[in-house]
Amino acid sequence: MKTSVVIVGGGPAGLAAAVSCYDAGVKDILILERDNCLGGILNQCIHNGFGLHTFKEELTGPEYAARYVAMAAEREIPYKLNTMVLNIEPQADGTKLVTAVNTEGLMEITAEAVVLAMGCRERPRGALNIPGFRPAGIYSAGTAQRFVNIDGVMPGKRVVILGSGDIGLIMARRMTLEGAKVLAVAELMPYSGGLKRNIVQCLNDYDIPLKLSTTVTKIHGQKHLTGVTLQKVDERRRPIPGTEEYYDCDTLLLSCGLLPENELSSQAGVQLSPVTSGPVVTSSLETSVPGVFACGNVLHVHDLVDYVSAEASTAGKHAAEYVCNPDHTEARKLRLRTEGGARYTVPVYAEPEKMEPQLKVYFRVGDVYKNAVLTVSALLPDGERKELSRKKKNVMAPGEMEQVFLKKDDLLPLPAGSEIIVKVEGNA
């Protein structure tokens, strides 16, 4: 089988990429989705808070997904469900051989361009780095979310949550509404990993305590969980003796963050960033393998699906351009680097000639910064620095993705070999 563009994953990223690729004139598209429906993780995110930026109204996850499913349906973009992509192999002629499997068997598709939109998965239990039994009653927050919201089954009645990522916070509220008692949310770090709004509306609204600098140090129960011990930790995250507190509970949810799902990408030879675990991309969202693009949570973990959709539209458009323009000579690339509190940027390379008039650069900080100053400057090959922009922010926190804009007009005149420095300074 042959097609112009294969999109791996039918979540919000895959759908938005397909729609924009189609609208940019490349209509020969195939979406491959391993689940039994389109929409991705949004189907289990039944809470509201999606789409304020894209649709100017506040939608729930399934409603947001339905809008993009409808847009893809209007364009009659083909998709295959229950179909898992196993391998992507760049060929000598520049095409990519995509191998997938479903109930009909194995299929091979030759594509000119591929958009990676596989999303992310929860960090494995490794976070729970304690000896002893693993009784029943311990779930990742996302698994519990699926049980409650899709299958209509409650995993337990007395709950402790380890990790204050957004899914954990959302599940604290969800299980409380369903009649469970959420005793505490424990967070190893001295700050929450989730959005402030979720602390307010998921914990404070229901008087659920958030215990910072605290972790689970003991699991009680052999066959089924009967309780956990929480303990405070010091600055070096070592448990402080004498601070043990016992909680009688039948359920422990782990909400220790998300990791982009990139086995396929690395098999395909795509270079990954050690910081985001996602592909290293250019301003066209093209990976190190020409004609392979990435967007959404597989690229870096987003808290806002609106940003996922915007990013995926860019990827879809550039995939279409790649297909339409057979001249694949490489564009000039300027590397983006971080300094101070900024941990990473997406993209890692800006292509001044190819980019839009404004390029949105996403980044996260590694710690909480107060009275932060965010500067972007160009570091010229002769060592001279030219400030391009400067912005003040009251607070910046690792839980919240930040963005800054680069102007094409600022980058075009920069000589080859220049670098763009994104820097955050402030009181940590």
């Binding site: 039944i46 304020l52 339905a66 299958d151 709004r197 509306q201 607070v395």
Partner: protein, 122 residues
């Protein structure tokens, strides 16, 4: 009196400072700062006088491809009514098919607000 709060209307989560005066025994918000957009001001006024929330949950479905259909209150309801609404939702079930936007319960728990389905379950 100055009250500090976090706007929950969007993920920016602006830190708001509101000045509250008590007029005839009722709180009245006289000024709001720190909001990035007008929704923040409206939120502070509501939150400090009569707080409301949108509630999302699920309702059991019979004969559908899924066991439960996600639902929400069509608009925000008074915060103190949250558990009354949940009680009503636990007591009902619906038959497939249910379509996105279908009204599942009218005037839930006397709030005057409907419960609508947020996904199609066939």
């Amino acid at each position: 009196m100055i009250k500090e709060l976090t706007c929950i209307n969007c993920p920016l989560g602006c830190s708001l400072r509101a000045e509250v005066e008590i007029v005839d025994g009722n709180p009245v918000v006289t000024s709001v700062t720190g909001n990035t957009c007008p929704r923040g001001e409206a939120y502070a006024k509501k939150e400090l006088t009569h707080p409301t929330r949108i509630i999302t949950s699920t309702v059991r479905v019979h004969g559908g491809r899924l066991a439960a259909v996600p639902v929400k209150t069509a608009s925000d309801i008074p915060k103190e009514k949250i558990f009354d609404v949940m009680e009503v939702l636990r007591g009902i079930d619906v038959n497939a098919p249910v379509h996105l936007g279908d009204v599942v319960v009218e005037n839930v728990a006397g709030t005057g607000v409907a419960i609508v389905a947020t996904r199609t379950v066939e």
